[in-house]
Symmetry: C2
């Protein structure tokens, strides 16, 4: 159990990590990727991207919209959905199907399936990319003769801190 609470690749950043660093890193990766592809990370898209990155918990489109509306009058659903479409298309964010919500991608530009551990207590989502999971799915699909295009893997449960908290006072009924 000595390594049980380590978080490989910083899957769940601690509650006191410097999130400004996360955002800065994500923004600079996004800028680089857009420049490389010759697409425009406009003011609006960049702002929506920042709002998605406001935490490690997936955010709903209308949450984003209400925040955006504070700074942009006339912001409407298409405003945010179009930006989200762009960001998704370029792999800068992922959509969490089981939550109808969006979260920043930690490794934009790299091909990956998008596997998530999502805490139902605090809402945090950790993106992982486990090659064994991918291999197991690909192998089974191949056995069946199914041609895989994309995978949605969303695991719901409790992140380490929330699991520990639940263990402390969650065993009794009262």
């Amino acid at each position: 159990m000595s390594k049980a609470t380590r978080t490989p690749e910083g899957a769940f950043p601690g509650i006191r990590h410097d999130h400004g660093d996360c955002v800065a890193e994500a923004l600079s990766a996004a800028e680089a990727l857009c420049a490389q592809r010759g697409v425009r990370l406009t003011e609006l898209r960049r702002r929506v991207f920042e709002l998605v990155w406001s935490s490690h918990a997936p955010v709903g489109a209308y949450d984003l919209l209400s925040r955006l509306a504070r700074e942009r009058e006339g912001a409407a659903p298409p405003t945010v959905y179009r930006a989200l479409d762009f960001l998704k298309e370029h792999g800068l964010i992922h959509r969490i199907e089981s939550l109808n919500a969006f979260v920043g991608c930690r490794t934009p530009g790299q091909a990956h399936a998008g596997q998530f551990l999502i805490c139902s207590e605090c809402g945090m989502a950790a993106e992982i990319d486990d090659s064994r999971v991918n291999a197991a799915i690909d192998r089974r699909a191949k056995e069946i003769g199914f041609a895989v295009h994309s995978k949605t893997i969303e695991v719901e449960g409790l992140c380490p801190p929330c699991r520990d908290r639940a263990g402390e006072d969650g065993h009794g009924i009262g």
Copy 2:
């Protein structure tokens, strides 16, 4: 490649399989399970279950509603959503998060994660339960210290027949 087109556990039933058998089997399993649990598979719930089982492709709630409305005047969204909630609660159907749709469960009563291969061409969904996939996820979650409650695994692609059709005429542009 000799076994590549076999379908273990009949993942994708052929286009000419006797689907009446599927429905009959599912209904009788559902009845047994409800009897065993002392819950009521009412007329309405049974009918919604049959409609979900009308094919192996996931069906949207409002699709179900429009079909139900033909035979039940006054059917409204809660009519179908309540039945779906019941069926889901008892593991008789699964919700496909990436499609906002519902599909019958092939192994009700048994604990399983609900893993799906979904054909984007014909809409068919095959439920699998690959222990390697589960083990890989559980192992990675354990490394991270994440307590898994439930898994959403939905793989999009082409089922064997659709893949073959695509291979025949889908390589060129014109």
